[in-house]
Symmetry: C2
Subunit: 784 residues, 2 copies
């Protein structure tokens, strides 16, 4: 959309200056608001036209039976699917009895703007009805980052050139019709009318709807209250029925006269609480919100975001689009996690129904990379959610004949929801990804309470899984056969390198953490000898290597396979999964998304620099990036070992993934992993930041496009600001006790308030590796 003519490039906003109905669904995702508990797509206030209406409550799902043409042991029987709950965003307007609908009449001006510092979505437009009556409308919408259950809308309509009679209808609507996009496996298949009405109330300016999700039994309550400022002779009425509650405010407006309405919304859900308890909870939250009022809610919102940007901001000088993109990304990541608390952070946050609202490894590997460095408390919450899944994950491991815990590949409440096991259950790396997120969090925080409370248990149960999943071969090596790594164009390989090095880290970290917390380890039943067995397996881990080519095969035998016929593949045949059968993709050398290259990043310690150069070059030639999870990984490793200009092109691709809708599915929601990837490309890539057991290190280096990169990170209760220039980097310890870290081979030590400047060594020039024909990273700027 940065490429879309309706969008302007600004450092702190995403602004649309014309309404293009062809991309309405995409803009609804981009303008989505959330606090991690409640999410609202950027649907137009008046409800219609819409691309895809959406209001979500984290972990409110329905269950649908999963069909199988052939029965298979261990296949999950039902799918959890995110539910579009009661829509409280709707404020319809009648102008002289003509409903405001931008498809009809004339839209004389339009502007929508999402402000990353205020956390408010502003809209301003002027509309002329088919019969010629004009109104000017301004609306502001927020989902509160401070009051978890609450959203609010400020809506104002003004007469323009002659008197008009207006009626504002503020509504709650349940069981909206949702369009179905059937053929794309990445989209969700929305059920019809998933909500069973339980109660409806309308009383003065208030109304509420209570429903129960038909199949999962979850109970959902939505309530609204209103204040308004109106000319005299204004009338209000309210009414409710099973699926609709409505407050109507009728008034007449002279030119320049305004009717303004503030709508307060409160949402709640529960799997266990009674109807009255849930109603009371929502009524209480609503009362507090109304009492707070719009202005104070907006102030709270601004302060919460000021805090966030104060510890997390990234400044990019030289590329205004990148500046905008990274703040857009960080804003969405923050609002997806801020109040998620012990709930998951789905692949699309709460911005759309894509992937049925499921959470994958995207959270652990990508999103938590960003959160751990900027809002570590939210990272801990997300990992505590993982911990809450352990009973189900243990049961799943037992069902699969394994020890420890087998996390679901995709889930909302912890039950496996993947119906295609070769790319679901077999992707056991999810366990090591969770463990890696624990290790990263512990490295970055030294939070031993968390280690005792949740971290050790996660490490132990995942280590147990690996120990039972692998086996010792005749030569004493520890093999993990028949599993699927990150790359979804391969499956069921033996000794997938990513999986094995991540399992190795998992096993070692579990042993180390158990040793550090012996009492808790004892409670978890860690037997004497168990940690030794984990360390032994880690040490003996088989890491295949192709001596002939001098590279790591993604999995055993991978480099013996036929290389995909890239020259014979037409541009319109990407993504390949929609045009070729899996059997063909699996048996050839073609990589959907970074797999071995991601191992080079997350387990950089396990590979020599020469390995990294050769492996990166090899996989560049066969990686097609049909996944949004790839470009950012390639950016980070290209920044480490490859040409910086290539790295920057990947960073730009990651930055444009959603803003330019590169995968043509932003309508279903944003790609949180790719948003995190934009931050990773800048901070882990050009900042060269790594956090290992040895501490924090930086290997910064700027691409030509940027003249300066400045980022803030939180590390072990300190706040650090790093400014990377073309020749030197400056480190400032903004807050916290003395900190040591390294800059290239130098050790830097800083006291609170102090700074240090270090030269950036020049890098050897290397030729840029090639990509499959037509799959080079896109060019977004003429100079790159």
């Amino acid at each position: 959309m940065l490429g879309h003519p309706s969008f302007s490039v600004e450092p702190w906003q995403l602004t649309e200056v014309a309404l293009d109905l062809d991309v309405l669904a995409q803009t609804e995702s981009l303008f989505a608001l959330s606090n991690g508990h409640l999410g609202m797509r950027g649907n137009l206030d008046e409800g219609e036209p819409y691309g895809l209406p959406g209001t979500y409550l984290n972990s409110v799902y329905e269950l649908r039976p999963l069909p199988y043409a052939e029965v298979g042991y261990g296949n999950p029987e039902s799918l959890q699917s995110v539910v579009n709950v009661t829509n409280g965003k709707v404020i319809r307007l009648l102008v002289n009895d003509e409903p405001l609908n931008v498809r009809y009449g004339k839209l004389l001006a339009h502007r929508r703007s999402l402000d990353f510092r205020t956390g408010v979505l502003d809209r301003e437009f002027e509309w002329q009805s088919p019969s010629g009556a004009r109104v000017r409308v301004r609306s502001k919408r927020m989902v509160s980052l401070v009051q978890r259950a609450v959203a609010a809308i400020h809506y104002e309509v003004e007469g323009v050139d002659r008197p008009v009679r207006v009626a504002i209808q503020s509504e709650l609507i349940a069981n909206e019709t949702v369009p179905v996009f059937a053929d794309d496996p990445r989209a969700a298949s929305a059920p019809e009318s998933p909500l069973e009405p339980e109660a409806h109330i309308a009383n003065g300016t208030r109304a509420a709807l209570l429903h129960q999700v038909r199949s999962s039994g979850l109970r959902v309550a939505a309530a609204m209250d209103h204040t308004y400022v109106a000319p005299e002779e204004t009338e209000t009425t309210s009414e409710s029925s099973a699926d609709v509650a409505r407050l109507t405010v009728v008034s007449s407006l002279a030119p320049g006269e305004r009717l303004s309405l503030t709508k307060f919304l409160a949402y709640g859900w529960s799997s266990v609480r009674s109807r009255p308890a849930l109603q009371d909870q929502v009524a209480g939250a609503l009362e507090v919100a109304r009492h707070t009022g719009w202005d104070a809610l907006a102030d709270e919102q601004r302060r919460a975001l000021d805090d966030f940007w104060g510890r997390a901001d990234v400044e990019v000088v030289g590329d205004p689009e990148m500046q905008q993109a990274v703040r857009f990304a960080m804003f969405h990541l923050y609002q997806a996690a801020a109040r998620a608390e012990l709930r998951p952070i789905p692949a699309k946050g709460l911005t759309g129904p894509g992937y049925d609202g499921h959470t994958f490894w995207d959270m652990d590997v990508f999103v938590l990379d960003f959160l751990t460095a900027t809002s570590p408390g939210t990272a801990a919450d997300a990992l505590r959610w993982r911990r809450s899944l352990l009973p189900d994950a243990r049961a799943r491991a037992r069902q699969l004949g394994l020890s420890g815990a087998a996390f679901p590949w995709r889930t909302i409440d912890g039950k496996e929801s993947s119906a295609y096991w070769p790319a679901g259950t077999a992707a056991f790396h999810i366990g090591a990804d969770v463990a890696y997120a624990v290790v990263r969090y512990l490295r970055a925080t030294e939070d031993q309470d968390f280690a005792r409370d949740a971290g050790l248990e996660l490490l132990v149960e995942t280590a147990r899984l690996w120990h039972s999943l692998g086996h010792e071969d005749a030569g004493g090596g520890f093999r993990i056969d028949g599993v699927t790594g990150p790359d979804e164009y391969s499956a069921l390989g033996d000794n997938n390198v990513y999986t094995n090095v991540m399992a190795q880290l998992n096993l070692d970290a579990a042993a180390a953490c158990a040793t550090r917390h012996p009492a808790r380890a004892h409670e978890l039943g860690v037997l004497p000898g168990e940690t030794g067995a984990w360390r032994g397996a880690a040490k003996a881990m088989v890491i295949p290597y192709d001596r002939r080519l001098g590279v790591h095969p993604q999995a055993e035998g991978f480099t013996d396979h036929e290389v995909w016929d890239f020259a014979g593949t037409r541009p319109d045949q990407y993504p390949l999964l929609l045009h070729f059968p899996y059997f063909d993709l699996y048996r050839k050398q073609v990589v959907k998304q970074a797999d071995l290259v991601l191992a080079l990043h997350l387990r950089g310690d396990a590979f020599s620099e020469e390995d990294k150069v050769r492996d990166f070059d090899y996989y560049e030639r066969i990686t097609v990036r049909d996944s949004s999870l790839s470009a950012c990984c390639q950016a980070v490793i290209a920044a480490e070992v490859g040409p910086l200009e290539l790295a920057y092109r990947y960073a730009e691709e990651s930055a444009h993934m959603d803003l330019s809708d590169l995968e043509h599915n932003v309508r279903d929601g944003l790609h949180l992993a790719s948003l995190a990837g934009t931050w990773m490309a800048l901070v882990d890539g050009f900042g060269g930041m790594r956090s290992t057991d040895e501490g924090l290190s930086f290997h910064p280096s700027l691409p030509r496009a940027l003249s300066r990169l400045r980022f803030r990170v939180v590390y072990r209760s300190r706040q650090l600001r790093v400014t990377v220039g073309r020749r030197e980097a400056t480190y400032e310890l903004l807050k916290g006790e003395r900190l040591s870290f390294s800059h290239y081979s130098d050790v830097v030590q800083l006291e609170e308030g102090a700074g240090a400047r270090r030269a950036i060594p020049s890098r050897p020039r290397r030729p840029s590796p090639s990509q499959p024909v037509g799959r080079e990273p896109r060019r977004f700027r003429t100079e790159t």
Copy 2:
């Protein structure tokens, strides 16, 4: 069932002397009649009780949409499923207005017998109604092997101790309710009321029903006519409605007095013909059958079977159960194929709805082994059916990005009906299996008309598939990666040895046949150089070998995998597929069914004797025989290289597969491959018969259980009889021109009518290899 107390051991019959309702469905399969075009399960005449009612017309199927939880390119959209067509077997009897139903009243005597020489199912019983009236009933049923559309039933009821009033209701019934066995993936999922009524007629002793299969549009006609012999004062009425036609004959019988009815049935179906055309065809067939009459139909039947046994009989001395089992098997195989003509031979023949009536590689590799050696014309017909699938198979190959033809893993009409591609589409060996069947047929017949007409085209199109599926690796080897071999406890392996050696044969055979028939090859577009490329690929074929263990891995890397924990697997956890996830089975060394061991048989020329010994021993230890296709293959190789006593135990297991319902699914139909396997175990195993490009050879050797084995085979228009004794073998050329073949290292030459006797060399003693604990072949006789 040989073990079942109700069955007696006889050389030429299967006889049941008591009716056990608990195994009713199984006996319906065992007593099924068929001619390859029309099949009738052995349901009781009176329709109820039933285990599973079934009447089938070869290739009459319905289509059901295939559900997928995740969309995948190339997945078949619908499933073909065999339809239970109009039931013409039903003859109900009212005795003093009480319906005869063996669940009620008393069954005073019961006998059912299927005679392998007459091809008639006899039933005789005496029944006392709840109110005490007695009748004696005799029925005979046949599906004509001579008049393809025709079946006939002779039904006779006799008064016993006092006068009774009886009403015989002879019916045609469409859309019977069929019980559903939901949880077993090997069963079918029967649709409700698949037949749309089109017409019904009743006229005198005649009636007909015409239906159209709802989803596939196939039109089915069933008609009946009757003659009867009755006391005076007998009345008949007939009537018809959409799904039922009925002739009722009412009479009174004094003790000893009889009412006998002969019912003639004719069936027809068509995908293209008009309703009148189909009606006329069926009416014509019915007229001929009625004109022929029961006695002449029975004579024809006997003569057809005399012919069959004259060229095919196997005599076993020393084990009466084996004698019965092999004739039972041969009878069912013959009747499944006799009039199939250009239609498939499904895995269950026309004996039940198992596997949805699909045809798999079972036909090509197992069933055609038997047919080629005993009724080569039926083998040619089956291969011409395969040829008729080429347009669909070519389209499927194109869809998969391949050249040549990709045969469906399971099908009725040629479209892929496998919804689980790792064990369906990926099992590309089906193409080589078809080619192997062509090669075997050409070796055994030298039928060059067939080669020109169908054989070469099948060889060329399958060779083209292999050439496009494999690729040349860096070392010049020809690799076939990511495919599934016969063993369904592994999938998507690289260089599966069975697949590669069979593809090698396929490529070489295509090249040789194209060279022999240059004009036809030219018509098929075989380019200069193409045959050379096939030969080159065959020559360079990669055959993995594990030097450390000195065995062939089933596929690359297989022998590095963990060995299944057999000691930790309980007996009730077999078959493993119902108790463990595929991911776990695939990644470990555990073999469902002969894979490498089948390669040792079909491509015996590609392995040294030492290889065979070592490979057989290795795979014995990890093969669990959860498939009915395994024991017979193990029997053949055990007879070649292993202890003969082990071979005989596998032969017995194969012989008992259906008769003793070893897999607990005989209710769904017989296992034709395993029936063929019983013959293979005797002829290929203890007869040591092999047919190669070099000609016919025998390495006979008897297990202790047998004192003599005599079998007849058809070879290149000759009829040969081989008699194997303990010390010597006798070969007789019953019919045909001079024939040369080998007995061990001797060449034997015979003129018509002549015989030759040869000593059987003694075999080295070898220790018996072990099997997984609890998975040793069963013991059926105390002395083995």
